[in-house]
Structures are given as C-alpha cells and as structure tokens.
C-alpha cells in the first residue's frame, strides 16, 4: 500500500464484497480499496497495527462499513473511530441491509456520516454505491446533478428519518 488514496471496505460476505468492489470501480479513481472481513481487522487497519503494521497509507478517503460482522461489529468500529480525536474526521458510511430503526438511530447517535441501506436489486445497488463513492471520495460535497440517494425509514409515528448519501 503505497498510494495515499484508498477506501476501507469492511464486509464479511466475500461475494457482497466482490459486488461492492465491482460497483466502487476503484480503477476509475486510481484509488485502492482495502477489504477486511471483520471489525477487528478494520480497526487494526485504521490504527496501522497487527497485520497492518507496515501499512503506511495514512487515513482512508472513507470507510464503508457493514454492521453485522464477526468479532467486532460495525457499530463498535464506528464508535471507536468517532470517539478518537485523531480519527473522527474520517467519513464513515454504514452500508447495511438492516432497516431496523434501532440500527439507524444508533448509528446516527454514534456520529455516522451516512447510513445507506443495501438495495437487494443489483442495479440499484450499483447506483447507490457509485453515488456514495462519488460523494465521499471525489467531491465530498453534494454534487448538484446527481439524484440524492435517500433512505426513508419510518420510525413508528415519527417523521420519516432521511439518511442521505447525497443531498436531501
């Protein structure tokens, strides 16, 4: 890892990781994607420790974080990143198939930058991941021409909570 531009993808399902990689298309960005299968590895990677001791790539452009992972889960990774003054500026996007209100609320409480639900339909999945990449890796500003990727979740009686990777 010599490049300074990289994305951290934490995803325990290798095939989903492959599909996510396909959608991220890092070659277009001249950027690398580091895939880790659990939360422990994700933290080791960010802290450059353990098997990532030699990794000198600095901080990732953003972290794409699955919630349900072995060893350390996504919420714990998120908590550690956001409570560390050195790391809290790293954008973290939760990318989960869960629409459970508790997961979403909890993620926002921990300071997630965006909560994006994984679409089951691959074309939507592809679009969504591309939007996420474009926003957090390229502009870091809401691109005006792009339709916002919006997840609306009804929290029993509340106004729909809008989690946007783009703008809303």
């Amino acid at each position: 890892m010599k490049t300074s531009k990289w994305i951290l993808l934490a995803e325990d399902d290798p095939q989903i990781a492959e599909l996510t990689m396909f959608a991220l298309a890092p070659e277009d960005l001249a950027c690398e994607v580091l895939v880790v299968p659990d939360g422990q590895a994700a933290l080791d990677c960010i802290y450059h420790r353990g098997e990532f001791l030699a990794h000198a790539g600095g901080q990732p452009l953003f972290v794409l974080l699955d919630l349900k992972m072995p060893k350390v889960d996504g919420l714990e990774v998120l908590r550690q990143i956001k409570s560390d003054p050195q790391l809290k500026n790293i954008p973290v996007v939760i990318f989960s198939s869960s629409r459970e209100p508790s997961d979403i609320v909890h993620s926002y409480e921990l300071g997630v930058n965006a909560y994006v639900v994984k679409p089951v339909d691959f074309q939507q999945f592809n679009d969504t991941v591309k939007n996420v990449r474009r926003f957090w890796a390229e502009t870091n500003e809401p691109p005006a021409e792009l339709p916002p990727v919006t997840v609306a979740v009804e929290l029993a009686g509340d106004e729909p909570l809008r989690a946007a990777a783009g703008a809303s």
């Binding site: 095939q15 989903i16 989960s96 198939s97 459970e100 994984k118 089951v120 691959f122 999945f125 029993a156």
Partner: protein, 524 residues
Amino acid sequence: MQVTRDITAQKRAETELRRSEALKTFILESAPDAILLIDLEGKIREWNPAAQKIFGYAREQALGQSPVSLIAPVRQRKLYRDGLTYYLMTGAASLMEQPVELKLRRADGSEFDAEMSVSRNYGEWPSRYTAIVRDITGRKKAEAALRESEERYRMLIEDVKDYAIYMLDPEGLVTTWNTGAERIKGYTAAEVLGQPFSIFFTYEDIVRGLPGQLLQAAERDGQSVHNGLRVRKDGSRFWTQDIITALRDAEGKLRGFSKVAHDVTRQKELDEKILQLNEELERRVAERTAQLEVTNQELEAFSYSISHDLRAPLLRISGFADILRSEAAANLDEKHLKYLQTIVAGAQQMSQLIDALLDFSRTGRTEMREATVNLAALVEDAQHELRRDIEGRDIVWRIGELPGTRGDPVMLRQVIINLLSNALKYTRPRRRAVIEIGSQTEAGETVYFIRDNGVGFDMNYVGKLFGVFQRLHSARDFEGTGIGLANVRLILRRHGGRVWAESRLDKGATFYFTIPNSTEGVSP
C-alpha cells in the same frame, strides 16, 4: 258559755264530718280503680264511677248485689263465693292487704284480668270491707308479649346451628348455651354452664391472657372481635371468629357478655386455598411472561437476522445475474437473457416478501403510542397515498360518518391504507368501482366498515383471509405479498379491537372493524 262552746264544738265536728264525707266522695269518684264497699252481709254498698266504667254496671244495678254473683266469672262463682265467705268470716290475711290477680267478669259477660286488693275498714262506715279492683288487661298483654318474644328469641338462639351463641356473666362464666355452641365446641349445656369461657381457648392463648383481654376490650369498647384458633372438647382445634358484646342494664352496669362465634375453619381453608391458587397463578404468569420475553427476544433476533442474512443471498443472485448479463450479453440469446431476467425478478419478489414480513414483525413489536385519531382524515390521507391506484379509474366514493377514536395514528393509518388498497385492487375488473366507507353502531359499539363491489371471495376460505402469506387470489390476477390483512388484524388486535369480513364470490366484499375507544363524541 258551756252550751255555746258545746254548740261550737258540735258545729265544728259537723263541719269536719262534712268535709271528711266530701273528701271520701271525691276520692271515690276520682279514683281510676274500681272501689267497692262491701258490708258484712256481703252486699255492695258503694260502687264508684271507675267501677261503673270497668264492669259496665251502673251504680243502681250494683248496689245491694253480691259481688260474687255480679263480677265473678260464672264457672268460678262457687270458688270465689266460698273464698269470699271464708275471707269475710275469718278475715284471713291472704287476701287482706295484698293484691291478687284474678279473672273478673264484665256486664257483657266478657272476662278480663284484674288485680284486686281487699282491706278491712275500721271506720264508722256501715261497710266492713273495701275492694279495689284494677284492670290489668294491658299489663298482662304486655307481659305475655314480652314472654312470647323472649321465648321466641330463646328458641331462635337455641336452634341456631352454625353459630355458637352464648352468654357470659361479668366474670366470664358461661350462663347460656345454644345448639350451635354444642355442635361447634362439643360440650353439652350441662357440661359447660358455670364454666369459665377460657376453656375454649388454646393453652398458648390462655397463657398470654387472651380471654381476659377480650372481655376487657368488650367492656371498654362495647365489643371485641377476634379471629383465632379455639379448642373443642375433644382437644381438636378450629378457626373461629369471636364477637363479644358487653351487656349493660339500664343504669349502665355490666351484666355480662354475649358471645357469638362462627366456625370459620372451612372458610379459612378456602381462603388459604384461594391464596395458594393465586400464588400459583402469579408464579405461572411470571414464568409465562419470562418465557414470552425470551420468545420476544428470540423473535426480535430472528427478524434481525432475516433482515440481514436473507437479503445478502438475494443480492448475490441479483448481482451476479446482472453482471453475467452485462458481461456475457454478446454470447447469450434472447431465451437465456430472459432466464436471467427471471432470476433477477425472483430475487426482487423475495426481497419484497422479506420486507413485508419484517414490517409485520415490526407491527407486533413496536410500542403503541396513543392519540386521538380522526378516521375521516386518515381516509383522505390514504386516498392520497393510493392516488396512483385511483387516478384514471371510475370510482364512486361513498364516505359516511366516521367517529373518531383513541389509538396509534401510524398503525391505524396502515389499517385504512391496507383495507382501501384491497378495495381498490379487487374492484379493478369493474368498469365503475363503488367503495363505501362508514360506521354503524351495534350493541353500543362503533363498527367501521369498508365495502366494495369488487370480485369478492369465497366465504369458505374466510378463515385464511387474515393469515400471514395467505392469499385467496392468484398472484397473476392480483399482486400482493399476503401480509396486508394479517397486518390489519395484528394492529386491531393490539388495539383490543376486531376485524372480520363478509363477501360472496363476485358480489363485492365488506370488511368490518372495531376499536374499543371509538366514541361518538370525537367526531371528524
């Protein structure tokens, strides 16, 4: 002087005599008792107005008559005559100076109770005896009534079997004993009369002075009540409720106590049984609740894992099918492309089913939030929500009175949307759909309904209507996940309400529901 003085003395004596006569006449006439003067021949010589009133004979009728033939009851004349003769002859003290009670007869032949006293006269009156007769009919009646009442009371108390009722003297010795006491305590009256009532107490209670304390409390407070163990003659113990009441005479002096005891052993046993059953019930409820909590937690974990783990494979199916299509499109013919499309569509449908199931599970788990709900507004809201199904169709809406209710607005909104969406869906084959929404009052309960003129369903399958993933129509004719009505039922159940449906195949359907808090007062 002498003469004059004599005359004066004579005059004074005459005046004195006249005054004495006048006084006697006054006494005779004003006395409330009959006064008869009887001479030595046994004839009546004086008969006062009270005698006239009591016996009904006028003075003229009575004077010179024998009192026996005049006022003695016919059957006892001989007895009375012999008696009177005897008294008159001997002056025996038994009748003299001491009133006797006897029966006397009135002029109309009726008899009455009388009290008579006869006294010997020592004056210069021509008669030798005065008889004073008092009518004691009223007193006798009162006495008889009292006796009867006491007798009745005594019999009542004696015959009571379920309660031991007995009296104690001020020292706590038993003075009366009824059947109930004998039955409950096992002692006969003969065994127990005169015994201290502490013999009914347990050894422990006697040691701590309970019998005396109960009597003192009754004396102090008027009554004492005690629930506790007592001992029968055979030594066995039983539960009783004792009520001791202090009895006082008119002056307030303590005369003794009445004691009412009830054998509450059976009652006590029942109480204990009930207590035991209640505890058992509570324990089982707690156990069941704990089980339910575990089940709920498991269900929640289950839903959570469905939401994660069932979606991932679908994404793989959809994802790799899609990549395959885009990368191998050149090598695939129309048919193979269609196969791939079917794979993707299958994954999509399954994803919808999973979402519906998760919604359903969330409906059951979400905490209810109660508010006032305007159902008419919810209907409008639902029409807006379903506008894509409404636009371009010929629909006649008949919306009636919809009383407001208390409930969870979000959940009830879902009910209205699901029912309306069904009505819209199954009227699609109709050139003109008629959808009626309203309410009626049945047995004091507001019943809401949504009626359509759609394809309806076969009532034979109505039992399946509200089940999860149950569908009465093919997916080819009418799309759907089979969750909508299950959700409706779950939401209404959580509100304590009901939902049911009526239909005939091809004749439309009506869905009814109730919400317990519906009020006529809160109107849209």
